[in-house]
Symmetry: C2
């Protein structure tokens, strides 16, 4: 367990690696994401101050996600095993978030998912480029532009 400082853009974990790390964010902003066969990025989660980010894959499996820094960040890096073992509360919270995300992906339109995102993570919206929000929502940047225009019209 050690404190590290990383610059914006630093890749902390590569897909395919076996040394799974868990990062607790002291300051700054990280993201985890996959890249599909077509080379397209899909952001799995953002983690700002106080959040924990990791690729939730078992130790004998290669990681499926990249993790990198969206802002200059200070992190506490923990070994996978030790890390979350105790903090059941945090695990349950994470499961709740993931459950919610799945329900949204299955039942809500792009507009609804965007609304929900800015309600739930208003701070993240300010700090992250549009294309990453689109990636998190599971749509293209072009589609997000259209969604935002539609919202403007409505008001």
């Amino acid at each position: 367990m050690k404190r590290i400082k990383v610059k914006k853009g630093t890749i902390l974990q590569h897909k395919g690696s076996f040394n799974h790390k868990v990062f607790q964010v002291e300051s700054g902003l990280l993201r985890s994401y996959s890249i599909d066969e077509k080379g397209k990025e899909h952001i799995f989660m953002f983690a700002s101050e106080g959040w924990i980010i990791a690729d939730n894959v078992f130790p004998d499996q290669p990681s499926r996600l990249f993790i990198d820094a969206i802002e200059d960040s200070t992190l506490i890096q923990v070994e996978k095993n030790k890390s979350m073992e105790h903090d059941t509360e945090k695990l349950l919270k994470r499961i709740e978030v993931l459950q919610n995300r799945i329900i949204m992906l299955m039942s809500a339109s792009a507009i609804e998912r965007y609304e929900s995102f800015i309600d739930t993570y208003p701070d993240i919206v300010q700090r992250v480029p549009q294309r990453m929000i689109a990636s998190y929502l599971g749509i293209t940047p072009e589609a997000l532009s259209t969604v935002k225009r539609q919202r403007r019209r409505k008001k």
Copy 2:
């Protein structure tokens, strides 16, 4: 903590309720699902022998999911708090499954998600009506029919 037997079709938890229960499946098959504003069902997960199923929402919040029995089932019902607290291993496994599901929903086509589903849960495929598989995959039964036809053609 008690053992209960339920008939196919029994609803074990309603959306909106506050007495969140956790069920461990001894035999049979359960599912959890949400119903959106248009009245459409979206299956969140299946649970067969050995699996645990619950609505992962915090105690002070209304449940978002229904849980019911797809087959006659024998269950062990546990109070929310006691249940998963210790079993970190199972929680991490669940997080892995959910992570995988999200990545699939964001990056894979209906055909790919279907292939992945039958690879991962070949037993479930046999025991569940097509429309429920469609619901789990996030597509309509009509679209699933088409997907299956396309697969047949290929082979």
